[in-house]
């Protein structure tokens, strides 16, 4: 056990890489989710189809397979990615597809009466979305987004297979060096858990903010 504790700088480095992957991947996923999720609510059938294709394609694809494509297959036809870029793209594209469905569902769940009020006040279609519909939809998106971010963080463990030094990768190194299989994996189990809890509290913080904005929670007195 003490061998594992002695290797803590390595574990910390690995944890930091995992956090970086999670942050970059989540930002990419969020952007993709908004773009393709909103496409899914568009009036034009063509735009909706683009959203659909993205979701169906990347939702049905294993992150690991995507990553192998970016890392091993695409370089053969001239597209080269660093391991980190390949990992972030695969995680972001995959989770973004789930996120797009969340965005689409949340936007559709905002009462139609709100949309009608925006028409009556003569907002342009972009303003309707930006000023009224989306802010209300965000409240519905946050809990599922929280799940997805944690999902992405956990899913990032597969990046060790393309030589990225994330938490799982470091654990395997430590395990190899010390032979402490049990304690090594206990250690990373706990670290993954702590990261997930930290992400969860961030999401809860955001939920509270949005609830206050929508008047769903009594203002602090």
């Amino acid at each position: 056990m003490s061998d594992v504790l002695d290797a803590y700088p390595q574990l910390l480095r690995g944890a930091w890489t995992t956090v970086q992957l999670t942050v970059y991947g989540s930002v990419l996923a969020l952007v993709l989710a908004l773009v393709f999720g909103l496409a899914g609510t568009a009036r034009s059938a063509w735009v909706r189809a683009v959203g659909r294709v993205y979701v169906e394609f990347f939702r049905g694809m294993a992150t690991l397979v995507l990553m192998y494509w970016f890392f091993y297959a695409l370089p053969l036809v001239g597209f080269r990615f660093t391991p980190m870029a390949a990992a972030v793209l695969s995680l972001g594209l995959n989770i973004g597809a789930y996120g797009a469905e969340v965005v689409r569902g949340a936007v559709r769940a905002v009462p139609k009466a709100q949309y009608e009020a925006t028409v009556a006040l003569n907002f342009t279609p972009v303003q309707r979305m930006r000023r009224v519909i989306l802010p209300q939809a965000v409240a519905l998106m946050l809990p599922p987004f929280g799940n997805l971010v944690i999902e992405l963080m956990k899913g990032s463990a597969v990046v060790s297979l393309i030589t990225i030094g994330d938490l799982t990768f470091r654990a395997k190194q430590i395990q190899n060096a010390t032979g402490e299989t049990l304690w090594t994996y206990v250690a990373i189990l706990l670290i993954y858990f702590v990261i997930a809890q930290a992400l969860q509290s961030l999401v809860r913080l955001a939920e509270r903010r949005v609830d206050r904005m929508l008047g769903r929670r009594a203002e602090a007195t």
Binding site: A117, A120, N122, F123, T124, Q136, M213, G215
Partner: protein, 268 residues
């Protein structure tokens, strides 16, 4: 109404409205069948009649929330759902609708305030974003309108913290903040607790009397209809059964269907 509050109201010549053989279908169900009627500039007209008779559809067509299946709707000298191109009448595009909607405001049965904004922001957002007012101008306009509806102290409140009656007052102020020339009232007191109804109705009556708005109102409240309108239209199955000044419609209706309807409404 004190003169300072009166200046918060939209002023200027209001346009008339005209429906010309307007058809509206929902699936196989024709709600309006070649409906013809006109409203004079500044006239206040109330639509009464049984549920499903097409009254609310008329307001929703005027607010561009529904698209007609046939006929022409005029606001002033312009057609709402059609525009001129090369001497021909073609379906309206977004730009035309945006232009036409500038004249029209609507108050909904369920208020439809934006829960993601304070009361003040509900009143300033559209004037700033759509009309291009400066934040200060919009706040000034909103404040005098909140004064008018008796809610000056609620500017920073959250809409969900208000009673139904207060929410509807805010919604009325929000519609007026866009300075419409035509105001559509869609059963604006139906969702209110009985003790709040009269206050909102009195407010609307004062606004109607003090402004030059062309007013089109759908209601089941006959006292309100009598109070607010120059003319009452009795609807049934998408057709005008009978029309006239409120006194005539409510005291000496000539049509049996009107009599039956009034009896049923007044009995409740």
């Amino acid at each position: 109404m004190p003169p300072t509050e009166k200046k918060a109201l939209p002023a200027g010549q209001a346009p008339g409205l005209k429906f010309e053989k307007v058809v509206k279908r929902f699936g196989a169900n024709a709600v309006l069948r070649e409906l013809d009627f006109a409203v004079a500039p500044g006239e206040r007209v109330t639509l009464i009649g049984p549920s499903g008779s097409g009254k609310t559809t008329i307001l929703r067509l005027l607010m561009t929330l529904e698209r007609p299946d046939g006929g022409l709707i005029w606001i002033g000298d312009d057609t709402l759902w059609h525009r001129e191109r090369g001497g021909k009448r073609v379906p309206a595009n977004q730009k035309h609708l945006h232009e036409m909607r500038k004249q029209v405001g609507m108050v909904f049965q369920q208020f439809n305030l934006f829960p993601n904004m304070s009361v003040l922001r509900n009143l300033t957002e559209a004037p700033v974003r759509v009309l291009g007012l400066s934040r200060d101008e919009a706040v000034e306009r909103a404040t005098s309108l909140l004064d008018l509806v008796g809610l000056a102290d609620k500017a920073d409140a959250h809409p969900t913290r208000l009673s139904g009656g207060q929410q509807q007052r805010v919604a009325i102020a929000r519609a007026l903040a866009m300075q419409p020339k035509v105001l559509l009232l869609d059963e604006v007191t139906s969702a209110l607790d009985p003790e709040l109804v009269v206050g909102v109705q009195d407010l609307l009556r004062d606004i109607a009397r003090e402004s030059d708005l062309t007013l089109l109102c759908v209601t089941h409240e006959m006292r309100f209809a009598r109070d607010i309108s120059d003319r009452v239209l009795m609807f049934d199955q998408g057709q005008i059964v009978e029309q006239g000044p409120p006194d005539q419609i409510f005291n000496e209706p000539t049509e049996q269907r009107t009599r039956d309807f009034l009896q049923a409404v007044l009995a409740t």
